[in-house]
Amino acid sequence: MFETRRLSSKVILQVVLTIMVIPFLLPLIAMVQESLSGQGWGNYRAVWATGVVPEFFRNSAIIAVGVIVIVYCLTMLAAYGFAKLHVRGREIYFWLMLAALTLPEVVLLTPMFTTATTLGVYNTYWAVILPLAALQIPFTVLLTRSFVKSIPDELFDAARVDGANAARVFWNIVLPLTRPMAAAIVILTLIGAWNDYLLPLVFLQSPATQTVTLLPSFFVSEFSNDQTKVAASAVITAIPEIIAYLCLQRLFERGLTAGALK
């Protein structure tokens, strides 16, 4: 955006950028530094020795996969229905769903709590998976509907003339052509489900089901507030997320810009 033909302006831009980025880097440096102070790598050994870390990761993975599967399946079906099929009163259905987009999850706490206890899903993965999926679907349907809409009608008409029914069209046209969108849905849902804190806090009460976002609180009580070990546990929790991002950098960025790019 800036013209950088002269060397001096190039240097200035680079310096400005570097100064601006430092505040984003410092907390990460502080985290690593803290995790290595005191007993050094011993902090990591102590955290690992509790043996709970893999369990928390497994729980987060199960919940994330569950949410992703539900969100992906229901979103694809609904996006096809909304974009290309005949639905009487379609906009009413669509807007009723879209209103849920604005819903803060904390509003669901009390009814979810009583329902979950009645249904016996309290302290199970379902108590977190179902509300997370329900709150994610409106946004992914909004994105995917406009994506499916941009597929030319002629393609659908031609398939129908050739005798393909809606299910076949869905399988052979919609699913393959929405693959870029699928990646975006998976990443968006993954970040949302993996990083969620409130629902696990309320609905998951034993380490056997708790997620990685509850690890810091677990270690705060486990090591009676020994900051260095808490920091080590934060690094252990953050590293897989950072690695996942670095490996799938383009997908992460595309996932978040899915709403902004045609």
Binding site: T4, A78, T110, S146, Y197, V230
Partner: protein, 318 residues
């Protein structure tokens, strides 16, 4: 498609030059009417609307009760919870904090995210390294970073040592323990966590700005800043509006950081109380479930109103 519908869809997806030419086809050729889509949308519709609307109706009902959440005989109190709410200073405090939080975080994220996007579109060295540093905070859970930030901003934390090292030691104090600075710290942490999203959206939007217009402006002698202000900034307006809407909803949803970072949730002295932490505290530790439900209903109304305000602005401009 109704006008209102296209308005909000577009406000999330509109890009320069892409606004027109997206009207839904009016009436298809006869004999090719598509099959019914109802069975296709029903699973998602029943799931989302069933769960969410059931919860809202239930919350509305609970908000008329005096109930601790477990007693088998809740007592109906009509609108007493709402009357109590309007006289509760903490409720008004949390609304004020939310507004203040929205204005500051949105302004800072927009300015910083936009600047980063413009700088990284300017052929600098190692662009990907900068991108990664800005974006990594987005993927780390706020709950994971919370104990780190609590340490950084504590009395003997890294932030105070940094101030001492640059000769501003007189400013050092326990940032989270003092009411006046606790909320700004919460905002700074949020900016750290979310600027990556703002940046990546602006970065994507800027790739769609017409290069020839930029080149023409430069040939006419416009400086870098003029181009940025006169062409790029208006060109990404759709993104700015979408981000404003996301920030409003995000501010109303704020929970993790003010719950986890201060010494006690929403503290000190309610200085970082938000609607989310307020509802949580009233509903769960205090077990005044009816009162918590009344606050939830107010939060819901504010969220819908906030989203509608920005959605409608998008429609009008269209």
């Amino acid at each position: 498609m109704s006008n209102a519908a296209s308005g909000t869809t577009v406000s999330l997806t509109r890009q320069p030059g892409a606004a027109a030419g997206h009207a839904a086809p009016k009436g298809r050729r006869r004999g090719l009417r598509p099959p019914s889509g109802l069975p296709w949308i029903l699973p998602a519709f029943v799931f989302v609307v069933g769960l969410v609307y059931y919860c809202i109706v239930d919350t509305a009902y609970i908000s008329t009760l005096n109930w601790d959440g477990v007693s088998p005989t809740p007592q109906s109190v009509g609108f007493a919870n709402y009357t109590q709410l309007f006289h509760d200073p903490v409720f008004w405090d949390s609304i004020r904090h939310t507004v203040y939080f929205f204005v500051v975080t949105f302004a800072v994220q927009t300015a910083v995210g936009f600047t980063f996007a413009a700088l990284l579109h300017s052929k600098v060295k190692l662009p990907n390294l900068y991108k990664v540093i800005i974006f990594v905070p987005v993927v780390i859970a706020p709950a994971t970073m919370a104990p780190i930030f609590r340490q950084i901003f504590s009395a003997n934390g890294e932030f105070n040592s940094l101030l001492q090292n640059v000769g501003l030691g007189s400013l050092a104090h326990p940032w989270l323990a003092q009411s006046s600075t606790a909320l700004p710290v919460i905002m700074a942490i949020t900016v750290w966590e979310w600027t990556g999203v703002t940046f990546i959206l602006y970065f994507a939007a800027m790739t769609q700005i017409d290069k020839e217009v930029l080149e023409a402006a430069r040939l006419d002698g416009a400086s870098g800043l003029t181009v940025l202000w006169r062409i790029v900034w208006p060109g990404v307006r759709g993104t700015t509006i979408a981000l404003a809407m996301l920030s409003v909803i995000g501010a109303l949803k704020t929970f993790d950081v003010p719950y986890l970072v201060p010494g006690n949730p929403g503290g000190p002295n309610y200085a970082t109380e938000f609607l989310g932490t307020f509802i949580y505290r009233i509903s769960i530790p205090t077990a005044e479930v009816g009162y918590g439900a009344a606050i939830s209903i107010m939060l819901l109304i504010l969220a819908l109103a906030g989203a509608a305000a920005f959605g409608l602005r998008g429609t009008r401009r269209n």
